[in-house]
Symmetry: C2
Subunit: 159 residues, 2 copies
Amino acid sequence: MHDEANHAAKPEPDNLRLVHLLRAVTVEFGLRQADFAARNGMHPTDVRALICLLDAARAGEAATAGLLGTRLGLNSAGTTAVIDRLERLGHVARVRDDHDRRRILLRVEPAAIRLGRDFFGPLIDGVLQVLDSFDPAEREIVRRFLTATHTVFAMEPRP
Amino acid sequence: MHDEANHAAKPEPDNLRLVHLLRAVTVEFGLRQADFAARNGMHPTDVRALICLLDAARAGEAATAGLLGTRLGLNSAGTTAVIDRLERLGHVARVRDDHDRRRILLRVEPAAIRLGRDFFGPLIDGVLQVLDSFDPAEREIVRRFLTATHTVFAMEPRP
DNA sequence: GGCGATAATCTCGCTCAGCGAGATATTAGC
DNA sequence: GCTAATATCTCGCTGAGCGAGATTATCGCC
């Protein structure tokens, strides 16, 4: 691999350009999360935790502390700390599970949801507008691409 | 506003499902970065720094310490720390810019590039395979979608 | 051609996120 | 019941990243 920083643009294959484009989108999204975190006195991890909890709720899964830690790649001490921070800010509430009283269920408070909507709403709307400019057949292609890509990323090992 | 009497699962609009799918991809990608970092004795920030430096090289930009800090959202102290860590591991080298001797240019060492290729290669190949299963017109649609989405994310404020 | 203003990076001291180890509370198995 | 397994929390520690300020190099001005 040569260093082609200096002169004429290298002939990067189109498909590889698409991969880089996808990565650029993910990086940009990460920066947005960080912005949101900083603006609301949180840390990026806290934002990821909220997203994770909302995803779990949407999927109908029980959002326990343990699940959260696993998804975020934190150990139990770190997980407790995240929940403490979110609880202190009033964004989540700890609720003992009555069926298994060892477990802590996490409920995202409406205020937190509103906060997220205020910040991410415009971004989501932007993407929805993009999608609206596509016809159904094209959207189906996008869906196929995203689904397949997600499968590729989700497939491999989880240490 | 239509029926759908089934319990918990809400009737999420197709376009919104695509947005969530895109987010899921970005989240998965972030986890991969974290895996790579942990497996190589680095922190996620360090990996993002390497990616940033490689992107700059690809784009033909001069990869200075300052640019890196800006892109990562770190202040100068944190930026120095990141570079120190990467240098200690032998992944980047500090090179004084001869045209402006205040500046430090960062060169990513070949060993680091190889390390990244070993880990991310299979993932990239996976996505390339996905793309290969699309015909050129379809790839163009994917490209349009990713470009437009990237624009949406990159558009808004930088605090 | 030297001199303050400006810019790029680094140093120092501090706070707090996340880890490892172990404590505590609850449930399941025999 | 008693023991093993599971879920969460507590404690002490390391180190990532911040703010403030020092350091070194460049530029515009006279």
